[in-house]
Amino acid sequence: MIDFGLDLAGDAERNGPDGPTYSLRGASLVAAAGALVEAMPVWIVVYALGEAFVGRSSALRLDLLTFGLVVLLAATYALKVAGAIGTFGATYALACRLRLRLAEHLRRLPMGFWTARHRGQIGNVLTTQFDQYTEIFTHVWSMVVVNVVYPLALGAGLFALDPWVALATLLPVLPAMFAISWTLRVLNAASDELAAEVGETTDRIIEYVEGIATFRAFGRAGDANDVLRDRLDRLEATSMKTELVAAPAIMTYSMVVYGGFVLGAFAAAWRVESGGLAAPAAVLALLVAALFVRAQASLVLYLAESRFAARTLARVRELFGEPEQASGTLTPPIEAPVLEVRDVSFAHAADESEEPAPTLRRIGARFAPGTVTALVGPSGSGKSTFAHLLLRLWDVDAGVIRLGGFDVRDLSLAHLHRHVAMVFQEVVLFETSVLDNLRLARPEASREEVEAAARRARIHDVIAALPEGYDTVLGPGGAGLSGGERQRLSIARALLRDAPILVLDEATASLDPASEAAVQAAVGELMAGRTVVVIAHRLWTIKHADAILVFDQGRIVERGTHEALVQAGGTYARLWEAQQTARGWSLSA
């Protein structure tokens, strides 16, 4: 009915390499034992009041009775403490292990899985939702255990007092369970609707905040405000509806549970009438029944709360269900790093909200060692997708890509990436030292090797000027570095990586001329002696490439050298002409 993720928990969760281990199952058992012990004072009450009811109170040993209550209290306390430590320890250890396992799983997904939108959603799951999960689960789980076991203990005792009263009181438990699942269904449906409304509102709020300068410039701030207000009205209405729609279900559950008490009272009256039950015993049975329904009634609240934790788990399971990219096992020596693409077709299901990825149709190409090949074409023509296939960011649907004669799918991914490296347009820097950022490409590189790579990438002087040189910890996302500096750091990484084949995504953002010159020098350094496949946006930079592949609508429509293509007068010539015009364009009145 509700996913508590118990199957995800191991038998024991070790807390750190030498830390204590916690078991969720063990902790739950302890909590259950605690609930049982917590119910026992009720039996002392039943016994003591029972004696008093039949006039034997003077025989009661109040000192022993008090002692017994205190011992039970102490035992309850000890068991609850132990249960709580176990539950907290096991839950946080579980969450921690799940998060890291999920992170590793995500890393093994085909890289094409990573669209910006996915990243946001998954980030939310791994951070906020996990925090919410642990917070809810630690508090709710033991309460669920207690509110199941405690009423059960009372119910069992009620049977001992009088089976008919007990039956009558417990009878509605079953329908109550149906009411719980109804409640949860209604709540889930309602919160789905609410989530959609919240999503809409989020989009509108972000649009409002990001567009404020534009709204003002066009004198539309008031209208934007009205649109937002409208959206907020709808959010309010939907929120209210969500609350209202679940109310009857929750109330039904509680009424059914309390109905048990009423039935029990009827049964007691009937039993007393028919002489099966003494009136004092009936009073005791009512007392126990009252305690029973109270405990039973609170269960639904905890279950309702735990559904938020269940929601996180559902997302986690969904992500674990994404198929990992199978890595091959071969790690043969690659003698001649020739990359060959044979008759490759590829289409991937694009996220509806993303720019649709182009479909590649029957593409062939060969990249000989030491050559420079440029991929050009209008945006959306498939040149980037093609480059990504070379690195196995995706796997081809048909055809084959070979490295040194081996199907890239047979090679281990690590082995493939030792031979084919990509310099991404978007430079990713981590909040750690410059040294570690560079060493990402080759963890075992010595400091000297790192420095040598930085020098060749024309970035050493910039690093040396930082407050702590190579040990300077970069800001989040490499904040504080200019675009050109980031690109050169990324080139330094590629130099350290030293792969014989390089896939280069030429940056589209404009740099100021001085920093552009430095980047160009670094790229020149990086390319020397390697096989280069470059996704080019500025055609004049590839005039001297050994081959140019022209992409259009997922096909290679032309190939050849710059001169030959310009002469041929096809797509490339058209693009070249357009760019020449664009380059020569000048503002004039």
Binding site: I206, M251, E355, E431, D512, A517, I542
Partner: protein, 595 residues
């Protein structure tokens, strides 16, 4: 500030009061089963009183009354929740509206320090959470306080000595609570810092996942990520171990009145000090007496967690307002735009980003602003079109200060086309007619035509009425820019500001954008923030900025002669423009020969 909060709260007073009263009434009815037990005890044992000697014959009838009372209780509770939720949602909404209004009037510099993510958090999450305080907490709190109080009242009326006995464990519980709560503030902050650190490490991991993967770095090898995530677990366990004894202690104590009540009640009964039914009443009612007080603890936690949220919301509500000066002057015909001695800083005490800039733009003139990165080019554009306030100097058009213009005249004066194009979710038409929502279709089409975007829009499934979706994700950079140009064309402002930081578009769309711009500029004064000198070599005048100051001004040829900054820029550009991939030093024919 307090006035905002009271303004948000005041309209909800009646609802909140109603919610509290209904919640208390509902909680009292929760005691109905206990009351029935008492009545039954009286009926069986009592010698005096209304139910004395009644026996259990009427038990079924009483039980029906309990059922009725329970139904009533849920209705009251439902009513209370409806009122409190209504109040909560309305409060959240009003907070959001106030924040939105505050942002609409805020000094633009405020946005330099607050990311749209942070602002979204304040408007959406924080407002909801603050509203949430009254949603459940307030009614809960009221019943947590009033139910024990009223029960106590009943118990004390029946027998004050037993009443005292049912409170016996309270002081101990309170002491424990105080002990646990001591120093929880800093602990709370430390815990949040730990969670935040883990979140940052995870988001960083996700951002870099493709790079990490291409370098074959698995999660096990990422020490920072592992440490941060493990840190959450270790910190949680540490806090648990430190607080669990006290925490569980008062939980157990608050729910264990029975330990005292039962022996004392039995003793009193045995000594003939109370009748049996009274003993039953205390056992039934006194046992759970103090348990609701635990909710006070949760409230404490909630308030603490909301302190930060309240801070964030107040930040937005208190955002410094833009200097809201406007006059009633109409837009002069064909004037000159004059910036005199303009200075600007991003922070009140910060360095000058613009330092005494003078600049004129005559009707029909094309003026380019160039300079090395960080020279203040983009700041200048912001000062002109973004509503970023000058800290000194003046901005006039046709001799009239911009501050003296009527709001709509000011809006009509300037159009801006930049690298980033902001598109709203809506139709193409709505986006193009952004500055003139009532523009007729043929004008919209003409604007699209001028921007070279006519074909683009005609190819869309529903033409002008095509929905673009959030952020218009399906459009390429060049397509977005052409829509922006169409928007500016329809806006038809006499002065155009272009931030020509065009990312490298693909060649054909770059040409289309340029053609659109050329048409747009016709008949207007244009100020170009230029990143590529070549584009603006033909401008009427080029202004060279460096370090926030104008260092030279003139035509291309003259500047090459006289201005070293300009010359350096020009040479660097010439060098990078000649560069080609794959032939760094050797010219191509020589390389061919070498092979």
């Amino acid at each position: 500030m307090t006035s905002v909060w009271s303004e948000v709260l005041r309209p909800e007073r009646a609802r909140l009061f109603g919610a509290v009263v209904l919640a208390i009434a509902a909680s009292l009815l929760e005691l109905a089963p206990q009351a029935l037990v008492y009545v039954a005890a009286c009926a069986v044992f009592a010698d005096v009183g209304p139910w004395a000697g009644a026996g259990l014959g009427a038990l079924g009838g009483w039980a029906l009354v309990v059922l009725g009372l329970t139904l009533l209780r849920f209705l009251l509770m439902g009513g209370s929740l409806v009122l409190s939720h209504l109040a909560s949602f309305r409060m959240a909404k009003h907070l959001r509206i106030r924040m939105a209004r505050s942002l609409a009037e805020a000094d633009m510099r405020f946005f330099a320090h607050h990311s749209s993510g942070d602002l979204k958090k304040a408007l959406l999450d924080d407002a909801a959470s603050i509203g949430g305080i009254v949603e459940h907490q307030l009614p809960d709190l009221a019943s947590a306080i009033f139910v024990p109080l009223i029960s106590l009242g009943v118990l004390f009326t029946v027998d004050w000595r037993l009443g005292l006995a049912s409170l016996a464990l309270l002081p101990l519980g309170v002491v424990l609570m105080a002990l646990v709560m001591r120093n929880m503030g800093p602990e709370f902050e430390a815990w949040h810092a730990t969670e935040k650190r883990a979140a940052a490490a995870i988001l960083e991991f996700l951002t870099g996942i493709v790079v990490l993967k291409s370098f074959d770095r698995d999660v096990a090898s990422l020490g920072d990520l592992r440490d941060a995530v493990n840190g959450v677990r270790d910190h949680a366990v540490r806090i648990t171990r430190r607080t669990i004894l006290g925490y569980t202690g008062f939980f157990v104590l608050f729910a264990s009145n029975l330990v005292v009540v039962l022996p004392v009640a039995l003793f009193f009964f045995r000594e003939g000090m109370v009748p049996l039914e009274t003993a039953v009443l205390f056992v039934a009612l006194g046992t759970g007496l103090t348990a609701p007080l635990l909710k006070l603890l949760f409230l404490f936690g909630t308030l603490q967690m909301n302190a930060l949220r309240i801070q964030r919301v107040e930040d937005v509500l208190n955002a410094p307002r833009a200097r809201d000066v406007c006059g009633e002057a109409a837009l002069p015909e064909g004037g000159t735009l004059e910036l005199r001695d303009a200075s600007f800083r991003y922070e009140e005490e910060g360095p000058l980003a613009l330092d005494g800039v003078d600049l004129t733009l005559a009707p029909g003139e094309i003026v380019a602003v160039v300079g090395p990165s960080g020279a203040g080019k983009s700041t200048l554009a912001r000062a002109l079109v973004g509503g970023w306030p000058l800290s000194r100097g003046s901005l006039r058009y046709g001799g009239v200060a911009l501050d003296a213009l009527a709001p709509d005249a000011r809006t009509k004066l300037l159009a801006y086309v930049g690298q980033e194009t902001f598109l709203v979710r809506g139709t193409v038409r709505e986006n193009v007619a952004f500055g003139r929502p009532d523009a007729p279709d043929d004008e919209v089409r003409a604007a699209l035509e001028a921007a070279g975007a006519r074909e683009l829009v005609d190819a869309m499934p529903e033409g002008l009425e095509t929905e673009l979706g959030t952020g218009a994700r399906g459009l390429s950079g060049g397509e977005r820019q052409r829509l922006a140009i169409a928007r500016a064309a329809l806006h038809d402002a006499p002065v155009l500001v272009l931030d020509e930081a065009t990312a490298h578009l693909d060649p054909e769309s770059e040409r289309a954008v340029q053609e659109g711009l050329s048409r747009l500029m016709r008949g207007r004064s244009t100020l170009v923030i230029a990143h590529r000198l070549r584009t603006v070599e033909g401008a009427d005048r080029i202004v060279v900025l460096d370090g926030g100051r104008v260092v030279a001004e003139g035509r291309h040829e003259a500047l090459l002669e006289s201005c070293p900054t300009y010359r350096t820029l020009h040479e660097a550009q010439e060098k990078t423009a000649r560069w080609t991939l794959g032939a760094p030093a050797v010219p191509a024919p020589a390389r061919e020969a070498a092979r």
